[in-house]
C-alpha cells in the first residue's frame, strides 16, 4: 500500500509544496491572499510538515490523511515568521533570501496576512480531513490551539523579546530553556504529535514522540543560534549576527560556541537513543538530524 511505503524526505517535500500551492486560491482582496501565500511558498525545508507526515507513517497511518494538518502547521510556522520579521519585533528585511513580507506588501498587510493564516490554517484541517473522525479532528485542533497560542509558540516569542530588553525575572538558564522549549520545540511537538495522533497511536507512543520532539526542537534552536554566529547571509537567507547585535539571549551568548556545539551533539545522541530504545525506524528523521549536523559542522 502506498501509505506504508517509506517515502524520502524529498518525496514529502514535493508533496507538501504541491498541496500548499493548491490550498491558496488567490481571490479578492488579492493582496491579502498573495501576501499569505508569499511567505508560505518561499523555498524552505518544510521540516515541520515532513515531521508530521513521517510521524504518521512511522505508526502505520496513511500519510495522506495527515496532509491538511501538515500543511496547516507550515502555514502557522510562516505566520510566526511574518510577524517575527516586523519592524516592532526582529525587524528583518529578508527571509529565506527574499524580501520579508512587510517589505514586499507593507506592514499593515503583513500583520493582517499573519492574522489570517492563524485561522486559515485550522480551517484547512477542517475542510480537507474527510478521512478523520470528528473526534480526531477535534483532538488535532486542540493540539493546534495549545501549541500555536498563548501557552505555546507565542509565550516563547514574548519571553524572547523581553530577554532582549533585559526584562528577565527568573534565572538566565531557565529563561533560555523556556524560550527554546516554546519558541521552537512547541511547533515540532505540534507536528510530531498530530502525525502520531492521526496514525491512531496510543498514549505511550505519543509520550515517546513528544519527548523526541522536545529534544529535536531544542537541538534545532541551538543550531540556529550557532548559525547566527558563524554563518553568512547567503547560507542563512537572512541577516546573520542579528541575535548578537540585539543582545539576544541565545545558547551561544550564554554558554559560548563550544558548549553550544557540545550540547547539540548530546541532544542528537539522545534523539537517536529514543528511536533505538523503542525500535523506531525512520530514514527521514535521520536525514533531518544529519542535515542539521552538516550545517553546523559537528
Amino acid at each position: 500500500m502506498m501509505n506504508k511505503t517509506e517515502l524520502s524526505m524529498n518525496d514529502f517535500i514535493g508533496i507538501v509544496n504541491k498541496k500548499l500551492d493548491e490550498f491558496f486560491i488567490i481571490q479578492y482582496p488579492e493582496d491579502l491572499f498573495k501576501s499569505m501565500k508569499y511567505t508560505v511558498m518561499l523555498p524552505g525545508k518544510r521540516l515541520r510538515p515532513v515531521m508530521c507526515l513521517e510521524s504518521c507513517r512511522i505508526f502505520g497511518g496513511n500519510y495522506l490523511d495527515a496532509i491538511p494538518t501538515a500543511c496547516a502547521i507550515e502555514m502557522l510556522h510562516s505566520q510566526t515568521l511574518i510577524h517575527d520579521d516586523l519592524p516592532c519585533m526582529d525587524n528583518d528585511d529578508f527571509r529565506r533570501g527574499q524580501p520579508s513580507n512587510h517589505k514586499k506588501f507593507g506592514e499593515a498587510t503583513a500583520v493582517l496576512a499573519g492574522d489570517a493564516l492563524l485561522t486559515f490554517a485550522p480551517q484547512i484541517i477542517l475542510k480537507y480531513s474527510d478521512n478523520l473522525s470528528d473526534e480526531t479532528k477535534l483532538r488535532v485542533l486542540n493540539e493546534y490551539f495549545q501549541y500555536a497560542g498563548a501557552y505555546g509558540v507565542i509565550a516563547g516569542q514574548v519571553v524572547d523579546i523581553e530577554s532582549e530588553g533585559g526584562k528577565i525575572t527568573g534565572s538566565l538558564d531557565d529563561t533560555l530553556k523556556y524560550i527554546h522549549l516554546h519558541k521552537t520545540s512547541d511547533l515540532f511537538k505540534l507536528a510530531i504529535r498530530t502525525g502520531t495522533i492521526i496514525a491512531g497511536a496510543d498514549d505511550e507512543k505519543l509520550e515517546i514522540m513528544t519527548e523526541f520532539a522536545e529534544k529535536l526542537g531544542l537541538a534545532f534552536q541551538i543550531a540556529d543560534d550557532v548559525l547566527d554566529e558563524i554563518s553568512t547571509f547567503e547560507a542563512l537567507g537572512k541577516t546573520p549576527g542579528k541575535d548578537k547585535d540585539a543582545g539576544k539571549l541565545t545558547y551561544v551568548s550564554l554558554y559560548g560556541l563550544d558548549n553550544a556545539k557540545c550540547k547539540l551533539a548530546c541532544l542528537f545522541d539522545e534523539c537517536y537513543d529514543i528511536f533505538k530504545k523503542y525500535d523506531i525506524d525512520s530514514q527521514v528523521f535521520i536525514d533531518i538530524i544529519e542535515g542539521i549536523k552538516q550545517r553546523v559542522k559537528i
Copy 2:
C-alpha cells in the same frame, strides 16, 4: 427553566463580563496574558456575545451552552481592535477611553497578544462546551474560522486600508459595501449564527438570522461612520474625526450625513420587518437597535 426565561441586555452583559474575567488566568509570561485580558476587559457594550446568547435563547436553546462561544467572539472582536489600533494600521492611542493596547504594553506585545487571542478564543470554545456534541463543536469552529479570517473580517480590514491609500479597483459603492459587510457584519453574523446553531435551529431559521445579522451589521457600521463625524472623544472613547482625516471611505464621506442617517433608519426598519414576518420576539435586539438610534439621534 432558567434558559427559557427572558434575560435582559444587562443580565447578559453581567454574565459575559464575569465569564470573560474567569477565562483569563494570568500566568507566565504575565505581560502576554495581561495584555490579552486588558483590551477584552475594557468596558464595552458586549454587543456580539449578547447577540450570540440571545439568538440561542430565541430558538429555545439554553444560553448557558453558548457562553464559551459568546465569550470567544468578544475575544476575537478585541483582537481586531488591538491590531486595528497599531501604528501601521489606524494608529489610535485610545480605545474605549483608555490607552490602546500598544500604548500600554508596547507594539511587539500588542501584536503577539492579538495573535494569541486568535487561537485562545476557539480553544475556549473547545475546552468549555461540554454540552455540545462533537458535530456542533466542529460547526461552531467552522463558523469561527470562516468569519474571523481571510474570507471574513480580515478581508474587510484589508480593503478598508487599501481604500485609505486610494488603491481601489472596483466602484466606490461596491467597495464600501464590501468593507462594511466583512469588517462589521461578519462578526455580527458569526455571533448570531453560532447562537442559532447551538440552539439547534434549522437551516431556514439560520438563513433568516443571517440576513438579519447582515442588515444589523451594516446599520451598526453606518452608525459608527456617523458618530465619527458628529461625536466627541468623551462619547466615543476614541479620537473622533479620524476617518475624515485619513480620507477613509465611509458611508458619510461617500453619500453625506443626511443620506447616511436615512439609510440607517431604513436598515433598522428592515431588521424589525424580519422579526415581525417570522414572529421573532426579542426585547434584547430591540434594546440594541434603539440604543444605536439614540446615539446617532435618529
